[in-house]
Amino acid sequence: MKNFKAVGSRLLQLALVLWAVVTILFLMFRLMPGNPMAAYIDPTFTLEQQQQLMAQFGLDKPLWHQYLIYLGNLLQGELGQSFRYREPVGQRIWILLPNTLILTFSSLIVAYVFGILAGAYLAWRRGSWVEQAAIPLVLTTRAMPEFWLGMVMLAIFSFSLGWLPAGGTRAPGNEYSGFLDLYTSRDFLAHLALPAATLAIYSQGLPLLLMRSNMLDVMKEDFVTMARIKGLSNWTVVVRHAARNALLPVMTSFAIAVGYQLQGNVVVESVFSWPGLGRELVNAVAASDYPLAQGAFLMIALVVIFMNLAADLLYAFLDPRISHA
C-alpha cells in the first residue's frame, strides 16, 4: 500500500513537471521580445500557407486560447512544420533522435564501465600514489569544456594523424539501405569514435568518483568486516559485497547522466557536425526556425524528465530495502 502511494505521488509529480516544462516552453517561445512566432509567418510562404499557419497556431486569438491550441496540438503529437526543412518537426526529430541516442549511450556505457572499474580500483588502492595522482587528473577531466576536448581530439586524430574522419556520420557518397546497415557499418563506427570518446572522457569522472567514495564508505561497513572474518576470498569480499553495495547509487546515476549528457551533446554534436538533436536545436535557434527549436527542446526535456523518473525506479528496483519493503 505504501508503495502504491509512493508510486502514485511520483507519477503526479511527473505530470506536474511535464505540464510545467511544456508551459515554460510555450511562454518562452511566445512572450519573448519581438514575438518569435511572428517571424514564423515568413513572407516567402504563400498566402495560403500563411493563413493555414495562422489558423493552426491561432496567432490571431488571445494568448490563453493559443495556449489551449498549443496543448491540444502537443497531445496529438503535432509539433508543427519546420520552417527551414518544410517538413513536419516530428518527422525531423524522429530522424535525428537515433543518432543522438546512439552517441549518448555508446559514450556513457564506455564511461560507466571504465569509471566503475577504475573507481573500485582506486578505492582499493586508497592512499597509494596511483590514487594521489589519479584523483586530480579525474577532476581535471570534469573541468574540461567538452567541446574543447572535442576540438583537441579532432586536431590530433583527424587533422594531424588522419586516422579518423572529422565529422558527420558517414563518408560522402556512402549510401546505406537501412538503419541497421548504416549503424553497423565500419564507416559509421569510425565517425562515431571521436565524438563518443570525447563524451566518454568527460563522463567517466562521475561514475568513477561516485564509485570510489561509495566503495570507501562501504568498506567500513560491518558486513564487509564480517565477510573477512568469514574467511571469504579477497575477491568475494571486494566484488560481491563491497562493490555490489557501492554500485547501487552509481547505477542510479546512469539514468541521470543520460539526461545531462543529452544537454552536453548540444556542443559536442556541433563540433563534430553530428546530425543529432542538440546540433539541430542550435541550428534551429540560430536560423529562427522556432517550431523545430521548440520540438527539439521538448524532446530533450522529455528524455531528461523520464530519465529522472527512471533513476528513482531503478534505485527502488535495485535496492531490496525498498523493493522488498
Binding site: 509529480q13 506536474l16 513537471v17 511535464l18 510545467a20 516544462v21 515554460i24 518562452m28 519573448m32 521580445p33 519581438g34 518569435p36 586508497r126 592512499g127 586530480p136 577532476l139 581535471t140 570534469r142 573541468a143 574540461m144 569544456p145 567538452e146 567541446f147 574543447w148 576536448l149 576540438m151 583537441v152 579532432l154 586536431a155 583527424s158 587533422f159 594531424s160 567514495s213 570507501l216 564508505d217 567500513k220 539526461g259 543529452l262 544537454q263 552536453g264 548540444v266 556542443v267 556541433s270 563540433v271 542538440g278 536545436l281 542550435v282 535557434v285 540560430a286 527549436a293 527539439a296 527542446f297 530533450i300 526535456a301 531528461v304 524528465i305 529522472n308
Partner: protein
C-alpha cells in the same frame, strides 16, 4: 558502562556575528589541493584586475606587422606576438588576458546568484515546512526537468546576447541543487537543541534563521557556490562557442569559437585553441579542488 552524561543543551558563548560568519566559512587551508585552488583563483583575479597593464595589445584591434601586412595567423613569437595572432590579426595573448575578466565576472556573479537564490529557497522551505516547502520543492522538481544548456541557449538567443542574460538563465535553473541540499541541512538543524531553545524562548523566526541557522549553512552555500563558478564558466564558454555569446566581450569561449570557425584545427594552430582551454580547466578545477577540501570538512566520513 556509565558514560559521562552530556548536559542537554550546551550554549557556548557566541562571538560577534561577522566574526562568526567568517569563521563559519571554514576555509580549508590545510588541504594542499584547496590551497592550490585558492592560489589559482588569486592568480586569475590579479590578471583580471590588471588586464590593462598585462595585455600587450587591444584584444579586438586588428593588427599589422612592421611590414604593414595583416598580422594574420602568426605563430607564437613571430613579430613579437607572444602567443601568435588569430586569422583576423588579433593578439591571442591579449585576448587570453582579457578573457579572464569575463570568466571571473560570469563565474562569480553566477555563483553568487545561484548560491544566494538556492540558499534562500532552501532555508525558507526547510524552516517553514508545510505548504511553503511543498510549493518550493515542486518548483525544484520542475527546474530539474528543464534541460539546462538548451534553456540557456534559447534564452540567450531570444534576449539580447549578453553576459547578464547568460547569468540570469543559469541562476533560473541551477538554484535547484543548492536549494535541495540546504533544505535538508536546515531540516536537521531545526531539531537541534539550541534552535528549539531559541524558539521556546520566543525568538522571532527571522532572528533564529539569522543567528542560529544561517551561520551553519554558510559553508554549504559556499561549497555549492564554488561548484557553480565552474559550471558558469563552462556554460558561458559553451554558449559563446555556439555563437550565442556577448559579441562585445572577449571570453575564452569566444576565442575557441573564433578558432574553430577560422579552421584553426585544420591549420594545426594549437597555440590558438589550446591556451583558452587550459585557462578554463585551471579556473574550473581550482573550484573543484577547493570544493574537495570542503567535502573533507563537511562530510568527514568521505575522507580517509
Amino acid at each position: 558502562m556509565p558514560e559521562i552524561a552530556a548536559p542537554a543543551i550546551i550554549k557556548p558563548r557566541r562571538p560577534h556575528i561577522i566574526a562568526r560568519m567568517f569563521r563559519a566559512l571554514r576555509l580549508p587551508m590545510n588541504d594542499p589541493f584547496a590551497v592550490a585552488g585558492l592560489l589559482i583563483y588569486l592568480v586569475f583575479i590579479v590578471v583580471a584586475v590588471f588586464a590593462d597593464q598585462i595585455a600587450t595589445h587591444d584584444p579586438t584591434e586588428i593588427l599589422y606587422t612592421p611590414a604593414y601586412d595583416l598580422a594574420a595567423d602568426l605563430r607564437p613569437g613571430q613579430d613579437g606576438f607572444i602567443m601568435g595572432t588569430t586569422s583576423l590579426g588579433r593578439d591571442i595573448f591579449s585576448q587570453l588576458v582579457y578573457g579572464s575578466r569575463s570568466a571571473l565576472l560570469i563565474g562569480i556573479t553566477a555563483a553568487f546568484m545561484v548560491a544566494l537564490i538556492g540558499s534562500i529557497i532552501g532555508l525558507v522551505a526547510g524552516y517553514f515546512g508545510r505548504w511553503v516547502d511543498a510549493i518550493l520543492m515542486r518548483l525544484a522538481d520542475i527546474a530539474f526537468g528543464i534541460p539546462f544548456l538548451p534553456f540557456v541557449i534559447v534564452l540567450a538567443a531570444f534576449l539580447r546576447p549578453s553576459i547578464w542574460n547568460v547569468v540570469i538563465a543559469m541562476a533560473l535553473v541551477l538554484w535547484r541543487d543548492t536549494a535541495r541540499v540546504i533544505r535538508s541541512q536546515v531540516l536537521t538543524l531545526r531539531t537541534r537543541g539550541y534552535v528549539e531553545a531559541a524558539r521556546v524562548a520566543g525568538s522571532s523566526d527571522f532572528k533564529i534563521i539569522l543567528r542560529h541557522i544561517a551561520p551553519n549553512i554558510l559553508p554549504l552555500s559556499f561549497l555549492y557556490g564554488s561548484i557553480a563558478i565552474g559550471w558558469a564558466i563552462l556554460t558561458e564558454a559553451s554558449i559563446s562557442f555556439l555563437g550565442f555569446g556577448d559579441p562585445n566581450s572577449i571570453s575564452w569561449g569566444y576565442m575557441l569559437q573564433d578558432a574553430f570557425a577560422s579552421q584553426a584545427l585544420a591549420k594545426q594552430a594549437f597555440y590558438w585553441f589550446v591556451p583558452p582551454g587550459i585557462c578554463i580547466i585551471l579556473v574550473v578545477s581550482a573550484g573543484f579542488f577547493i570544493t574537495r577540501g570542503y567535502e573533507n570538512i563537511l562530510f568527514p566520513k568521505l575522507s580517509r
